[in-house]
Symmetry: C2
Subunit: 132 residues, 2 copies
Amino acid sequence: MKYIEKLRNSGLRPTKQRLKICQVLFDSEKTFHFTVNDLAKKIKIKIDSNISLATIYNTVHAFEKKGYLKQIPINSSQTYFDTNVSDHHHFYDLNNDKLIDLENSDVGPINIKKKINGKKIKSVEVLVKLED
Amino acid sequence: MKYIEKLRNSGLRPTKQRLKICQVLFDSEKTFHFTVNDLAKKIKIKIDSNISLATIYNTVHAFEKKGYLKQIPINSSQTYFDTNVSDHHHFYDLNNDKLIDLENSDVGPINIKKKINGKKIKSVEVLVKLED
DNA sequence: TTTCTACTTTATAATGATTCTAAAAAGGTG
DNA sequence: CACCTTTTTAGAATCATTATAAAGTAGAAA
Ligand SMILES: [Mn+2]
Ligand SMILES: [Mn+2]
Ligand SMILES: [Zn+2]
Ligand SMILES: [Zn+2]
């Protein structure tokens, strides 16, 4: 299985559960955005096995820490994650709570002119809110 | 009192509680960022009166809807609000969960080249995450 | 293979921000 | 004042997320 090494390299044991979650997250052609709830449903549908919510949370957070997933900064009752870990931005459709990718090339370079003493920039993310 | 009219013009009755919350939010020289919890503490300190949490939530949401406050898109366990309702951006310091304003002039114009059919842009916000 | 240990999973409880409820209080109008 | 509507409030409910701690598993060593 192709995810065993990916997990090992990150210091995560390739357990049955983690491998199945990898399948659901990373086997698809396109990247996608999801909440933990979305992911739990998807796992139940795609794979006929019960992975506990606690494990899904643990794994998602482990993947996030390792850089396999990104959190999307947004105000919502649930946290959104992204399997697209490249540097990019988002549209957020306020009418249906859906996220759409905005590639860097769709936004152009962002030049942060202000500097904060002793701090370095970790990420620069643009959120474009949409409405009808 | 200078907030009575502001409230009336927005269809909000100028109640004792709303006027006191206005004082705490809008009387200060500088704008600031806050969570509902922050605000509740500030109210208890600045004004010696008990305004219930429910009322603070109601009022903050009413003000947000009227455009007197802005929500800041960020992933945190609490929602952050901003008394600076001008178009601007933020630094978010991951080491202490503090927000710092980034004026439009500190970022330069952002040109969103991608369009979404039937949707219009409501806001464009940049979040710059900082670490030590 | 057997054993040992650290890591992982899981069901379940706890947490905590936010929202809901419904009764009491206050605002506004005539 | 009398009336009706809006607002406030204490407390309960909700619900995403995190913590707990017991049972299971992976990997390595013997
Ligand atoms: Mn996380
Ligand atoms: Mn709100
Ligand atoms: Zn994305
Ligand atoms: Zn601000």
